[in-house]
């Protein structure tokens, strides 16, 4: 930390002294799309060295997306998983391994490793940037598979917009988004209400597949531009969701229905100050406070003590980043910060015991353009963890522009994810369903030994002896791509990827209780890989029809399983004869939850009058492994797969009067449902939205 500060001072002094005539090609902002996530500083999209996708506000609006998972689910190579809320799978890596940022700061409050994307409203999102491949060299923990950065509207002028939507299942979504500007001050606000009565995919069922919910999001932005070089900014966000919860348990022939409520609160406070010393040197200080509160309360009939599950997470961070534009050929980004994190939960031991972790980190990134066509970037980050081993995360990437139209990119980097509190401290026993227990790795041994001395352990499994301090999960990722651009009307890009993950943390059975209940804990047991390629192409026809498509091929495996298969230790059973035989690599479908093929095709029609628009989007996914049914621990049988599906979503909008627009759409036009594997897919979902842009309405009345 101290080393970093003194280094930073030297750099600032050096660059300030060497002030010359500014040559600002890298800060150049033309009409071309600019992204900030890939390099942690502004870059033209066409200049980045790593696979980056940008989703614009217009696309989000015209797709009729309300929550983050809806728009992400239509992107190439991203799949929305449906356990513990909606997570995103990227390059075949689980939701645990993608860092989700809001204006550059991480969203917290993961359950089972998954950050529920449906907690995030998209009504005021200006753009979403998706960076694939390990990015821990800039972002630290969790950025193992990639980073998704949600950038909200920043006030630019006076604007007031209202949207009201009604859809199937009594879905109501209402939002108000406004900005004002006064002198050096700008302020913006966004409020959103989102609710639904839920639905049931199983007829005559006592409980709904998705229970009624109610959500509120409030966001604010306040900025003060002291002068051309100095700016204060404050971003605030508060979100709350309430889910009605009812669980029916059949017990001795009588059905006990318990009613409950799940409440989640998110709070994010992000003050920042940025200062530009000169055209070459810029620094910014950021603070970040985030709180996540979750409570699940359940009242069981005829039972005095109900169920009350609480989880509280607090995240505090201070950070500095300094961007140094040394010359046209050299640019340096350097930064460091300090994180303090607390978690308390009665899932661990008691709410009064706060578990803490602190992290100090520094990062450094050097961009070098030896010749005009070639960009080389080297990055390195060091995270010193209190609770786990420290981690170095390097990354190298390059882009070579062959000519105006063709370019190639390549990158290699390391990513990591620190063990989370749940994996260390969880202490959970489910009495209702089979009396299984899950213990965090740091508490498992003591808990099992205590049960053993009470005579409640039937058998200790080999995994019990392997319990040890958890190491961070790490990955090495390689990406290589070719891009072709035809002006602003067309682009085609191919990216090949491979991610090797080590020290993967999985649950394993460490013991059995005398009542047959299993005891699980977390171990660094596995190594896996994901590899494949994706192709994306987009073309603009006659200036108003945008056609784009994407495809991802994916292959994954647990390396230990491959070794076992090669050693002849994995078996299958002929269902006709009942006889077992050896399984071969070709029988093994890889990690569960991964589709070999995923594709999308999208049409957006926007005539130049902007009077109306229409869109149609098709998302396809081949079958994916769900659960092992035959007991050999892997996905190999046809009935262990979820069915192939394709969803078709359409939408259209018409401007009735200037500033007043009606939009209607149908998600899942052909009413596809799969109650087991896609509980979050309700089937056909028509909706209608009214939007009013009060600035345009006012202008219109002025012209009258």
């Amino acid at each position: 930390m101290r080393m970093y500060l003194s280094f930073l001072c030297c750099m600032i002094a050096g660059v300030t002294a060497a002030q010359q005539k500014p040559v600002d090609t890298m800060f150049d902002r033309q009409l071309e799309e600019v992204v900030v996530t890939a390099n942690r500083s502004e870059r033209k999209l066409s200049n980045v060295t790593v696979p980056t996708t940008l989703i614009a506000q217009k696309t989000i609006r015209q797709s009729g997306s309300l929550r983050l998972h809806e728009i992400l689910g239509e992107q190439t190579g991203l799949f929305i998983t449906q356990s513990f809320g909606r997570g995103v799978q990227m390059q075949g890596l689980s939701p645990d391994y993608t860092l989700i940022l809001l204006n550059g700061e991480p969203l917290i409050g993961r359950t089972g490793g998954v950050l529920d994307l449906s907690r995030v409203a998209v009504g005021n999102i200006k753009r979403i940037e998706i960076v694939k491949g390990p990015s821990s060299s800039l972002y630290g923990s969790e950025a193992l598979g990639g980073v998704i950065n949600i950038i909200t509207d920043q006030a630019t002028g006076r604007k007031l917009q209202a949207d009201l939507r009604y859809g199937r299942f009594q879905t109501i979504d209402a939002s108000l988004n406004g900005t004002i500007r006064s002198g050096k001050w700008t302020a913006g606000g966004f409020v959103n209400h989102n609710s639904s009565q839920g639905y049931s995919l199983k007829p005559n069922s006592l409980t709904k597949t998705v229970e009624p919910f109610w959500r509120f999001t409030g966001q604010g932005n306040l900025a003060y531009q002291l002068n051309q070089d100095s700016r204060f900014n404050l971003d605030l966000r508060y979100a709350q969701e309430q889910i009605q919860n009812s669980i029916a348990v059949q017990n001795l022939g009588t059905v006990v229905v318990s009613k409950g409520r799940e409440t989640n609160h998110d709070l994010n406070i992000l003050p920042s100050y940025s200062y530009r010393f000169n055209q070459r040197l810029k620094t910014s200080f950021r603070g970040y406070i985030s709180q996540f509160r979750s409570q699940q309360a359940l009242e069981v009939k005829n039972l005095v003590q109900g169920y009350d599950d609480q989880f509280r997470q607090d995240f505090y961070r201070i950070e500095n980043q300094t961007d140094i534009h040394i010359s046209e050929k050299l640019e340096t980004n350097v930064g460091g910060g300090f994180i303090k994190e607390y978690v308390a939960s009665n899932r661990y031991d008691s709410l009064s015991t706060r578990r803490a972790n602190q992290v100090g980190y520094v990062f450094f990134q050097q961009e070098w353009r030896p010749v005009e066509k070639l960009t080389l970037i080297a990055g390195l980050r060091y995270d010193a963890n209190q609770a786990y081993a420290s981690v170095w995360s390097p990354k190298l990437s390059l882009q070579y522009r062959i000519n105006e139209r063709w370019s190639v990119t390549g990158s290699a980097g390391r990513g990591f994810k620190a063990p989370d509190f749940r994996q260390l401290y969880l202490n959970f026993t489910n009495v209702a369903a089979g009396s299984y227990s899950v213990f965090g790795s740091l508490v498992a041994k003591d808990e099992v030994l205590a049960l053993q001395s009470a005579g409640q352990i039937d058998q200790l499994m080999p995994a019990f002896e392997k319990l040890a301090d958890l190491k961070p999960e790490t990955s090495t990722g390689l990406n290589a791509g070719v891009q072709y651009r035809y002006g602003s009307s067309g682009r085609v890009q191919l990216n090949i990827f491979r991610n090797d993950i080590s020290n993967l943390i999985l649950t394993d059975i460490i013991a059995y209780k005398t009542n047959g209940g299993q005891i699980f804990s977390y171990l660094n047991i596995s190594e896996a890989f994901t590899q494949g390629f994706d192709v994306e192409a987009g073309w603009k026809f006659w200036k108003y029809l945008d056609v784009s498509g994407g495809y991802q091929f994916l292959s994954t495996a647990d390396k230990a399983v491959l070794e076992q298969i090669d050693a002849g230790q994995v078996f299958k059973r002929d269902e006709q004869t009942g006889v077992s035989s050896r399984l071969t690599r070709s029988d093994y479908a890889g990690l569960p939850g991964r589709s070999k093929h995923m594709a999308n095709l999208k049409f957006f029609y926007n005539p130049s009058s902007e009077k109306w628009f229409a869109s149609a989007r098709i998302v396809y996914r081949s079958g994916w492994g769900t659960t092992d049914l035959d007991g050999n621990g892997i996905i190999n049988r046809d009935d262990e797969f979820a069915a192939v599906f394709a969803l078709v979503n359409i939408s259209g909008g018409y401007t009735v009067l200037p500033g007043l627009r009606v939009m209607a759409g149908i998600d899942n036009l052909f009413n596809y449902t799969d109650e087991v594997n896609l509980p979050g897919q309700p089937g056909i979902n028509p909706y209608i939205t009214l939007s009013a842009d009060f600035k345009k309405i006012k202008n219109r009345s002025k012209t009258k």
Partner: protein, 216 residues
């Protein structure tokens, strides 16, 4: 084609009759090479009804089986050396420990039936200590079977061989082939009633070594 013939053969055996087993001609002759025998439709306390609690119930009695004689042994002989293994639902007991008076025992070998030619010398035979533990562990994916709750079906785990020490201290190996009537697992889409009515019928193949050695 070969598969189909085999399936047809097994089906034929199954249809031949309840409790009937295909016997090889030389079972008593130790000079002849031992043969693999298939026992079909061994009833294992089939379900008599559904209790008001929703739980299916049977009579609660074990079906005893002699590997040496390839026959079901009457319950009246339960306190003898005449049986080697017993079936009740998914529980398989051995004539050992507190289950019987014999010198039995067992362990679950992970591998293929045909590959197990000699019982490894470091093998440990377990004995029954009912109801808390059995030589052949009970429970889904702990011994010989896996239970799939979503479809309510019990199927044998691939690559599991039950290595048995018989009541008289001889050795046998068993591969459980099926748990349903006629050796046919009901379709996942079949009704729960059909699944319950047709379960607890064991079909298994085994090799018994009458000379007391551990080779098959």
């Amino acid at each position: 084609m070969k598969m189909k013939t085999m399936a047809a053969a097994i089906l034929g055996i199954a249809l031949f009759g309840m409790y009937a087993c295909s016997k090889d001609d030389n079972s008593g002759n130790t000079n002849q090479p031992i043969q693999t025998v298939t026992a079909s439709n061994i009833v294992a306390d089939t379900i008599l009804g559904i209790a008001p609690s929703g739980q299916p119930y049977g009579s609660g009695k074990f079906t005893f089986f002699s590997l040496e004689r390839n026959a079901v042994v009457p319950s009246s002989d339960s306190a003898t050396n005449k049986w080697d293994i017993g079936f009740r639902g998914t529980t398989i007991i051995t004539n050992s420990g507190n289950s019987g008076l014999g010198q039995g025992g067992a362990f679950v070998y992970v591998g293929l039936f045909d590959d197990l030619l000699t019982i490894p010398t470091d093998s440990v035979f377990r004995v029954d200590n009912a109801p808390s533990s059995y030589a052949i562990p009970t429970g889904s994916n702990r011994g010989w079977y896996v239970y799939n709750a979503p479809v309510n079906l019990v199927t044998p785990v691939p690559g599991r061989v039950l290595v048995i020490r018989t009541a008289t201290g001889k050795y046998a190996k068993i591969e459980i082939l099926n748990y349903y009537r006629g050796g046919v697992t009901p379709a996942a889409t079949a009704s729960d009633d059909e699944k319950l009515r047709n379960q607890r019928f064991y079909t298994f193949r085994y090799r018994f070594q009458p000379d007391g050695t551990k080779t098959f």
